[in-house]
């Protein structure tokens, strides 16, 4: 409790409040605009945080992340265009409600559900992260190796594409992460006499290239047609029946989303899909789903917000990113000289608790921002795409260049943009590549340290209880994945892939 009070004393400082507000505002705009995800938004604004202290930087960047989850629902409900991939499921019933003249109620339920789920997620983060970090202090290199392998296997298992596709992308990411000077022996690896490559390939150019530029290249401006409806303020309140119908889906979505958020993978996307499936199963009127069911908006919207908060638990407590967004946030901490992981809670309590407390405040700000100002945010969508994407390209270039003042990084971003375009054409998911790139140095270092510790004996991974437990889970997940591969069984992941494909077409 004392720690949380310390956090609030940091988070309620006017400077921190201002940057939390700025993050929430930018996040909402990023969420509203299709084609610009939170990852691009965070990466682009990363250099702008260099002049700030660590708390303000992380508070602002995290605000963009969870703000985008709020904003993503606006376009889903009003235009049937998901501003964010995690809002795909909201399109179905949210847009159907809008067609029935209940757009305002749908927006209100989405915002209130997001707020409740976000706040629930932060309470759980407050309770879980510190003890988990204390537990993680027992981790040595073998445990970290097993944990990172588990992260990759979990990502592959949860992925909506096939196991080999995810693993091949993760391998490619880890391989890219080996470029540069080998920390243990000083060898230059694949740097081709380019001095900048000696430090390796950065996360920001790769993430911005694959997700930001890649998205722009595969979206011809002629196809981006906008038809915008702006609901009036007085139409925003749901009626009593709608409130009643949304209560349990919000509660279930919050719990489900938080639990899924703890796991590696695109948790905020998966959680909204699963929540939709759960609500349909629980509903007394499943036939209403697709025709404007309130639960079809309340559940998924709550789940994706709880998941985005849940993703901060492994990030803050273990220093383990569960996806590309938390990976870039980790990079932001490292740029500011703060090592993420178990020591963060004890050695930088002001940053950790200030960040946690700012999320309570940020969620309130988002509720206040998203409802009364929905009409203004919707106007952002009136900017023609042919004007918008050149602007995004400009911010991509500045964002990447300003991190290291390196033009090589910008070239890497451009190359990654082209690769991202190609990957979209061939149905390959770029997220495992980015995650692989992030964990690569830690994975390699912990694996090699483990082997040195054991004098080359692989049995070290089976002699330590935590490592064994993690590897047993890995084996179980691999077995499940191989079984479904062999049987070619259609499960929730294939249905998720179909839903995503259906949306993009």
């Amino acid at each position: 409790m004392e720690s949380l009070l310390l956090g609030f004393s940091v988070a309620l400082q006017p400077g921190v409040l201002w940057y939390a507000f700025l993050g929430c505002l930018v996040g909402t705009v990023v969420g509203v605009l299709p084609g610009i995800g939170p990852l691009s938004g965070i990466s682009i604004l990363l250099p702008a945080t260099f002049g700030l202290d660590t708390t303000k930087s992380v508070v602002m960047l995290a605000g963009i992340y969870y703000g985008s989850q709020y904003g993503g629902s606006t376009t889903s409900i009003l235009m049937r265009i998901p501003g964010e991939a995690s809002s795909v499921m909201t399109c179905i019933d949210g847009y159907a409600m809008a067609q029935k003249g209940r757009a305002g109620a749908a927006l209100c339920i989405a915002a209130v559900g997001s707020w409740i789920a976000g706040t629930f997620g932060v309470i759980m983060l407050t309770l879980i992260a510190p003890p988990l970090a204390s537990f993680a202090l027992r981790f040595g290199p073998p445990e970290y190796t097993a944990l990172l392998v588990l992260g990759l296997i979990f990502l592959a298992y949860m992925s909506s594409t096939s196991l080999p596709r995810t693993l091949v992308m993760a391998c490619l990411g880890i391989l890219l992460g080996t470029i540069g000077i080998d920390n243990m022996t000083g060898h230059f690896r694949y740097s081709f006499d380019i001095a900048e490559l000696g430090d390796g390939i950065g996360i920001v150019p790769v993430a911005v290239g694959l997700f930001g530029l890649g998205e722009i290249l595969s979206t011809p401006s002629a196809t981006a047609v906008r038809d915008v409806i702006a609901p009036r303020l007085r139409q925003l309140l749901p009626n009593r029946e709608e409130w009643r119908e949304s209560a349990m889906p919000i509660a279930r979505g919050s719990v489900l989303g938080f639990l899924i958020g703890l796991m590696p993978g695109s948790a905020h996307i998966i959680s909204s899909f699963l929540s939709y499936a759960v609500e349909r199963r629980f509903s007394r009127h499943p036939e209403q789903f697709g025709k404007g069911a309130v639960a079809g908006v309340a559940g998924p919207e709550s789940a994706n917000n709880a998941a985005s908060t849940g993703a901060f638990v492994p990030m803050l407590a273990l220093g383990l990113p569960t996806g590309p967004i938390t990976a870039v946030l980790l990079a932001a901490l490292m740029i500011h000289g703060v090592p993420p992981g178990p020591t963060l809670v004890n050695e930088h309590p002001d940053i950790f608790w200030g960040f946690v407390a700012s999320m309570y405040v940020g969620n309130l700000m988002l509720l206040a921002l998203n409802l009364p100002l929905v009409g203004i945010f919707v106007n952002v969508l009136r900017i023609p795409y042919s004007y918008l994407y050149p602007l995004v390209i400009m911010f991509c270039i500045i964002g990447v260049y300003e991190v290291n003042h390196s033009i090589v990084d910008v070239w890497i971003m451009l190359i990654m943009g082209v690769i991202g375009y190609g990957m979209r054409k061939f149905g390959l998911d770029p997220a495992p590549l980015v995650l692989g790139l992030v964990i690569s140095p830690t994975l390699e270092m912990s694996l090699r340290q483990s082997l040195i510790m054991s004098n080359g004996n692989w049995a070290i991974f089976f002699q330590r209880p935590i490592a064994v437990a993690l590897l047993v889970i890995c084996a179980g997940l691999l077995l499940l994945a191989v079984l479904s591969l062999v049987r070619s069984r259609r499960d929730w992941r294939s249905r998720l892939a179909e839903a995503e494909a259906g949306d993009s077409s």
């Binding site: 096939s162 690896r189 694949y190 530029l213 390209i393 400009m394 270039i397 040195i452 080359g456």
Partner: protein, 148 residues
């Protein structure tokens, strides 16, 4: 046999793995008790080849290559070329000049929007961004050889 997307994707990735192995000749693998700088890259390149081949073998589940729509390719090529030119010019021309040109060429040249709106938008946005970064956020932007 129908050529499918995973035939191409798996083949390219496996070939990339082979290329990495070929480029890793001088990196020492070391021993298990003291792994060298080449151990991890060679292991990963081998896995890349294995998974790439697995994709090729299981390509029947993927879409036929002919189904991929390349209608957006000319637009993507134009945008990539112009962005590449801007990147090449960035350190010489500086932020103000290069970004104004980038926006203008993309909006007027690629998107065929009006000359005046394109010019006004390019100049206005670049000036606002400059003020935001350089003045409000105190993040200096690239000046180029002309000093602005």
């Amino acid at each position: 046999m129908t050529l499918r997307t995973d035939h191409v994707a798996g083949g390219v990735l496996a070939a990339f793995g082979l290329l990495v192995l070929a480029l890793s000749g001088d990196l020492p693998v070391g021993s298990l008790s003291f792994p060298g700088a080449g151990m991890m890259p060679k292991l990963l390149a081998s896995l890349l080849i294995a998974f790439g081949l697995m994709l090729v073998l299981r390509a029947g589940d993927s879409a036929p290559l002919a189904d991929i729509s390349w209608q957006d390719l000319p637009h993507a090529l134009r945008v990539t070329t112009i962005t590449a030119l801007a990147v090449a010019l960035y350190q010489t021309g500086g932020f103000l000049l290069t970004m104004t040109l980038l926006l203008f060429v993309l909006i007027f040249g690629v998107e065929r929007r009006g000359l005046v709106p394109a010019a006004a938008f390019s100049l206005g946005v670049v000036a606002l961004t400059y003020l935001l970064f350089a003045v409000a956020l105190k993040t200096p932007l690239e000046q180029g050889v002309f000093g602005f």
